[in-house]
């Protein structure tokens, strides 16, 4: 497919839908987690208010060029990840720019945002940012191994790296979904998914409710607003990826909303039930059972 200007318009449309969906998810999931803890939870539209508030703040400081660019990298990473994936199967409008690259592009592009963000956080000079980055990178490298093995297993199963073709092969009934036809790869992927969502037990990177740590430590006002926009978009993009790989993709927006909601819920369920791992524990954990599932998935191709 060739690049045409209308693709930009369609991309913006996708982005708009996903952004709103993401913001709403960001409101609902904490509410669910709170209800589990017998609390009331925030308002479902709180993320909207947060973003508007952050953008409206008057005090804005910067520590340097890289610091300024950090959120730009982050949000570009999130938007890019979304743009490089076909969102709605069979739809020319919502296929985005997936004709630029296949599954490997999507897998590697997520690091674009991570890297840029880490650099931005580093320039602030705050040691907690750096500690958070070190933890985050350690965890990410560990979870990538079962993820890679699972992806290879799926790619070999369908004989292709094109996401659209993988989705196409899963059409025609629930039992065609990869999670059922290749359960071990699915298990490896879903366990890696837990790590990449950054909820408990893998939330030591940001260590919420404990200490201000991690890349966002020094970010505020407009910067934080941009980061929060990303926090809406990036997880949804990842959810869409997993949905495409394991759950048969989506042929319409409602189907997408439902499927991604339940995939997200999986990480929330695990998160509310488990305490936090230390970094070395999570590294070792990923190289234990998830890796085993990945290896079995490869052996069973």
């Amino acid at each position: 497919m060739q690049f045409e200007l209308k693709h930009i318009a369609y991309g913006l449309l996708t982005l708009f839908i996903v952004l709103n969906y993401g913001l709403i998810l960001q409101g609902i999931m904490p509410k669910i987690a709170a209800r589990v803890g017998r609390r009331y939870g925030i308002r479902w539209y709180q993320p909207y208010i947060d973003i508007i508030k952050n953008h409206a703040k008057r005090s804005k400081i910067t520590h340097g060029v890289m610091y300024y660019l950090g959120p730009v990298f982050r949000l570009s990473g999130g938007i890019g990840l979304l743009m490089f994936m076909p969102v709605i199967f069979g739809s020319p409008i919502f296929g985005n720019f997936s004709f630029a690259g296949d599954l490997t592009l999507v897998l590697y592009f997520q690091f674009f945002g991570v890297l840029g963000m880490a650099l931005g956080a580093g320039e602030s000079g705050h040691p907690h940012s750096a500690i958070g980055v070190s933890r985050g990178l350690s965890q990410v490298t560990a979870l990538e191994l079962p993820l890679t093995l699972g992806v290879i297993s799926i790619a070999m199963q369908y004989g292709t790296l094109r996401i659209a073709d993988i989705v196409a092969a899963q059409q025609g009934g629930i039992m065609n979904w990869t999670i059922f036809t290749n359960p071990f790869a699915g298990a490896a992927l879903m366990l890696s998914f837990l790590g990449s969502m950054g909820r408990a037990p893998f939330d030591v990177v940001l260590a919420p409710q404990e200490i201000p740590i991690g890349p966002p430590t020094e970010y505020h006002s407009g910067f934080l607003g941009v980061l929060q926009l990303n926090r809406a978009i990036f997880p949804v993009a990842k959810l869409i990826l997993f949905m495409n790989l394991l759950y048969g993709g989506a042929t319409s927006w409602p189907e997408l909303f439902i499927k991604t909601f339940f995939i997200y819920l999986w990480s929330v369920f695990v998160g509310v039930a488990f305490p936090r791992f230390r970094v070395d524990q999570s590294v070792r954990w990923f190289l234990g059972v998830p890796l085993l599932f990945g290896i079995i998935a490869i052996l069973l191709i």
């Binding site: 674009f112 890297l115 980055v133 890679t148």
Partner: protein, 1041 residues
């Protein structure tokens, strides 16, 4: 032609005449010099008579009768060569010892002349008893000369020499007497071995004669007395013993071997091989200069004995090989002993004093490389022929022993050279240049280069390029006094000229390596403009290394390839040892390199069995033991590649090198190993060793190397070590890709190799600039440098994005191709490790950039300047290349794909513009770049709109929860950056392999220590050794009494 008898008459006559000169010592010395010069002239005259003509040797009759009733001397081609050798070192030795001879008086000069006389006659005589007499003369003369300067060591040494050689001569006499009894004649030509060997007594007699000659040549372990003599004697005399006396002894052995039968030949070769191996092993432990040279001498003579013993197998080649090695030994040993006399340092570690005069250091280096067998010296060609012939005869065990012995020799010789070049704790008593001592050494050095050229011609070595390069290197050495600016420009111009004139003759994968070696070389040389002053010695060494690299590409025969390989190794060794703390790392580097080179040499040897020529295409058609040859060569090349198990030399060598040497060795030199593997794999294809697919094993090695390298890199505190480990990791990918033997695998490997060159040069130059400014290598001592060195920051940023393989930059292309290659090949487990390694790379990438450029700026760095312009300029050239390749991946990958088509026609990528299609997926580099830039620009615009009034704040203006950050050192998180990761996975990087090699080295030292304790210094014990040796060898040869 002067009658050769005049060699004898002149020496004898002058010796007697000296008695008439009274106290006129200087005149006496002059007369001695004239006599020796006349003897040289006679020998040289005969040499020119026999050279190139097939003239029969002439017989000189004495006493008026013909043999066997009188003694006759023979002068043939061999005799003329050997007498010339003896007389030359005699004259030069006498010049060297001028002061000592003058001091000792004309009696000593007489003894000196008598020694040379005795050696000459030993060579020329055809009569056994005459031989005995002159051997006695030689022994007594040496004994006299040993105590030239009487001191605590030389007198006992002289005494031990006397009693040992007395016993040996006694054995010779005994044998001679019984040969006369059983054979009826004393003339060598008339003794028929058959009649003698039928009789029991006759065979014992022959045995005694031959073994006494062998004992004169100091075999292990009956050579304790010899080592004490070498240690105790004046070095000038040591030179004579080693060069002249041993030379004559070798000739005598060869002369008398006509008596021996096949068993004797085998015995001699085994004795020689054991001597060579044992002496060099024992030399490892040695710390005394002269004793070390003694071990080396004994070892080399053992090697030559082996060659003589192999005459039945080597046939026509025996002369060439033996002479090449003998001449190298002769020149180098004499040279080194003479240098030892000048430097006057008993302990090896004190040899740093030689640095007082660079020329002496150059001479020492020349001789040491001659001994080890590096090109362009004669020993290189001798060893080459020896290996080829041993392989042809399937003598693989002997080949292994000889190469192992050579490696041991390399250990102590290079360690010694390292002390001389680098060791700092030395008293500054530099030797002065005395002309009479300098000239002999210089002459021998010139001779070793000249003879190296000559032996090369005889070997059929022809390389116009190397000759031109050698001339250019010599030229650079001569103009070393010029400024860096001029020499650098000359070097760059030379490389550019080579590229311009030769580009059209390059094709296929040679083009890729040409680009890396030559264009890459020019780019890294640009950084050399940073240095001010003269940078003495640097440019000839750099050009030596690049000459070797280009020589690899130009090589059309295995000999040319190996020559270039060793040349490259030598040049890079000298470059690496220039680093401030490089002494032990350079030693480690050269030992691993030499070991790997010997494996390659063995592989070439096995490959050429049954072939007439030595072109590189013999690799395509290996007749015997192909898998073994393949494995040996692969391991040899992998040593250069620093694959896991063979990698411990790399981090130290690359990290401690100078700022512009590191990019050269890490980005460019390692690719020589890749070139070797490419050539090997394409020529020989997949091989099965004992039923195991070698390439499969290599794929695992590559994957594990990638993981190990990247993980070790993540844990380093030293920036340059981090980059060095990163190189190890990346070359693991390359090995993995190559072992796939598929189109996509090779595309990935070669693309990664080029990318590795680009970003490694980029990063080493950048970090080199940082280290130059901050004067520290440790990352936790840096920090916040983005404000001071923004251009360097950008270089490093791009570099690490390329390593990480993050789109849109070019690193991603390599990863995409690798994914497809693996899916095609179905090597999933290795793939998992490789991709895991790829992700681990993020760790060190981030650590590198964060701990140096981000975080907190230290107080002492507040006034830091940006890196020098000439360090930045090559970095930005590379940056431009990286951007072009990222936007237009077609420009790199399509040509490589085309190059690979003839070898791997199946599985290529389909290109539609910048869109690449494979069987599994697709990738459009340019489109991705455009989209990413578009999104980035939009988001940036958005952020700018909302935040354009952002206020820049000071360094410590951070959220710190009501505390105040006190100092940058306590606020910059950099030390032990990945502590939890290390806690979780640190067991993977425990130094098992380092411990292994340490254990090997310690084991060798321990064995050497234990074995050398037989040399207890007691002369009587040495006599017992000799007698026991005779008995044991007799029993072993004859299987009983």
């Amino acid at each position: 032609m002067v009658n050769p008898i005049h060699i004898v008459s002149i020496a004898l006559g002058v010796a007697f005449a000296l008695g008439f000169l009274g106290k006129r010592e200087k005149l006496a010395l002059g007369v001695v010099y004239s006599a020796l010069a006349a003897m040289i002239a006679i020998s040289a005259g005969w040499l020119s008579h026999f050279w190139g003509n097939i003239n029969e040797p002439i017989q000189i009759f004495t006493g008026g009768f013909k043999p066997p009733f009188a003694i006759n001397l023979q002068m043939g081609l061999a005799e003329s060569v050997f007498t010339l050798l003896i007389n030359t070192v005699g004259l030069l030795g006498a010049i060297y010892l001028a002061k000592e001879l003058l001091q000792a008086g004309k009696n000593m000069m007489i003894v000196f002349l008598v020694l040379v006389l005795g050696l000459n006659v030993m060579v020329m005589t055809r009569d056994l008893f005459n031989l005995f007499v002159f051997m006695e003369i030689q022994s007594i003369a040496i004994a006299g000369l040993v105590i030239l300067n009487p001191d605590r060591k030389s007198i006992p040494a002289g005494f031990k020499y006397v009693i040992a050689t007395g016993l040996i001569s006694g054995l010779l006499l005994l044998g001679t007497v019984f040969i006369y009894y059983f054979g009826g004649t004393l003339n060598i030509d008339f003794i028929s071995q058959e009649s003698l060997l039928y009789v029991k007594g006759g065979s014992v007699a022959i045995f005694l004669v031959l073994l006494s000659i062998v004992l004169e040549l100091k075999p292990f372990p009956a050579n304790g007395w010899a080592l004490d003599v070498y240690e105790g004697a004046h070095p000038g005399i040591g030179a004579l013993i080693s060069a002249a006396s041993a030379t004559a002894g070798i000739f005598v052995l060869d002369k008398l071997m006509v008596f021996g039968n096949f068993t004797f030949y085998n015995a001699i070769s085994i004795i020689g091989a054991i001597t060579f191996l044992a002496s060099n092993l024992l030399g490892i432990k040695q710390e005394n200069t002269r004793r070390l040279l003694g071990y080396s001498s004994v070892g080399q003579i053992g090697l030559i004995m082996t060659i003589i013993g192999l005459k039945p197998y080597l046939g026509e080649n025996t002369k060439f090989i033996a002479l090449a090695i003998l001449v190298s030994h002769y020149l180098a040993k004499a040279g080194l002993f003479w240098l030892a006399g000048i430097v006057n340092a008993d302990k090896l570690k004190d040899w740093g004093a030689i640095r007082g005069h660079r020329i002496y250091l150059f001479l020492m280096g020349t001789f040491i490389f001659t001994l080890v067998g590096f090109p362009p010296f004669p020993s290189f060609f001798g060893k080459w022929q020896l290996v080829m012939q041993l392989a042809n005869n399937h003598h693989f065990w002997l080949l292994a022993i000889i190469l192992l012995g050579s490696l041991f020799e390399g250990v102590y010789l290079f360690r010694w050279l390292g002390y001389a070049i680098k060791w700092d704790e030395v008293e500054q008593n530099y030797p002065k240049i005395k002309l009479n001592q300098f000239i002999p050494i210089a002459i021998f050095a010139v001779l070793t280069y000249a003879l190296g050229f000559y032996f090369g011609e005889l070997s059929g070595y022809k390389s116009t390029f190397i000759y031109i390069a050698a001339a250019f290197i010599a030229f650079l050495y001569i103009v070393d006094f010029l400024l860096v600016f001029i020499k650098n420009t000359l070097s760059i111009a030379a490389m550019g000229f080579y590229l311009y004139t030769n580009l059209s003759s390059y094709q296929s994968y040679y083009l890729i390596f040409l680009a890396i070696f030559v264009i890459g070389g020019i780019i890294t040389l640009l950084a050399g403009y940073t240095f001010k002053g003269k940078r003495t010695g640097f440019y000839s060494l750099v050009m030596m290394m690049f000459a070797g690299l280009i020589g690899l590409l130009e090589a059309r025969t295995t000999l040319e390839f190996f020559f270039a390989w060793e040349l490259m190794t030598a040049g890079s060794y000298f470059l690496i040892i220039r680093g401030k703390k490089s002494m032990e790392h350079a030693l480690s580097y050269i030992l691993f390199s030499v070991g790997g080179a010997y494996l390659i040499l063995s592989g070439f040897g096995i490959a050429q069995i049954g072939h007439a020529g030595m072109g590189l295409d013999i690799l395509k058609d290996v007749h015997y033991y192909a898998p073994i040859a393949f494995t040996l060569m692969a391991i040899g090349f992998m040593t250069k590649l620093a694959s896991i198990g063979l990698h411990i030399w790399l981090p130290g060598a690359h990290a401690e090198a100078e700022a512009d040497v590191s990019p050269m060795v890490s980005a460019i030199l390692l690719k020589a190993g890749v070139f070797g593997l490419v050539m090997l794999f394409l020529s020989m294809g997949p091989q099965k060793l004992f039923g195991i697919d070698v390439l499969y094993v290599l794929s695992w090695i590559g994957a594990l190397t990638a993981l190990m390298g990247n993980m070790m890199a993540a844990f380093q505190e030293d920036a340059k070590r981090l980059l060095a480990y990163s190189s190890i990791g990346f070359l693991g990918y390359a090995l993995f890709g190559l072992s796939m033997m598929s189109h996509l695998g090779w595309l990935a490997a070669l693309a990664l190799v080029i990318m590795h060159f680009l970003f490694k040069a980029l990063l080493f130059l950048a970090i080199g600039g940082v280290v130059m400014r901050t004067k520290t290598k440790y990352m936790y001592q840096m920090g916040g440098l983005i404000k001071k060195m923004p251009f360097t920051f950008i270089s490093v940023l791009i570099g690490i994005i390329v390593i990480a393989g993050v789109p849109p930059l070019t690193g991603f292309g390599g990863k995409w191709i690798m994914y497809n290659a693996i899916m095609e090949k179905e090597w999933f487990f290795q793939a998992g490790i490789v991709f895991f390694a790829g992700v681990v790379a993020f760790l060190y990438c981030f650590r590198l950039i964060h701990t140096i450029f981000l975080g907190q700026l230290k107080d002492e760095h507040r006034k830091l300047k940006e890196a020098p312009f000439w360090m930045l300029f090559p970095q930005y050239i590379i940056l431009i290349i990286v951007f072009v390749l990222s936007a237009l991946p077609n420009s790199l990958l399509k040509p490589i794909g085309d190059i690979l088509m003839p070898y791997f026609p199946a599985g290529a990528l389909e290109w539609h513009g910048q869109l690449a299609l494979s069987a599994y997926g697709y990738w459009n580099g340019k489109l991705i770049m455009v989209i990413v830039i578009g999104i980035f620009a939009s988001v940036f615009a958005w952020l700018y709109i909302i935040n354009r009034k952002a206020q820049k704040v000071g360094q410590f203006n951070i959220v710190y929860a009501a505390e105040r950050p006190s100092r940058p050192e306590t606020t910059h998180f950099a030390y032990n950056f990945f502590a939890p990761y290390r806690k979780a996975l640190g067991f993977l990087v425990s130094p098992g392999i380092t411990n292994f090699w340490d254990a090997v080295s310690d084991g060798a030292h321990a064995i050497a220590d234990k074995v050398r304790s037989i040399y207890n210094g007691n002369g009587q014990t040495y006599l017992a050794h000799i007698i026991a040796y005779v008995v044991i060898i007799y029993v072993l040869i004859n299987g009983g009494f």
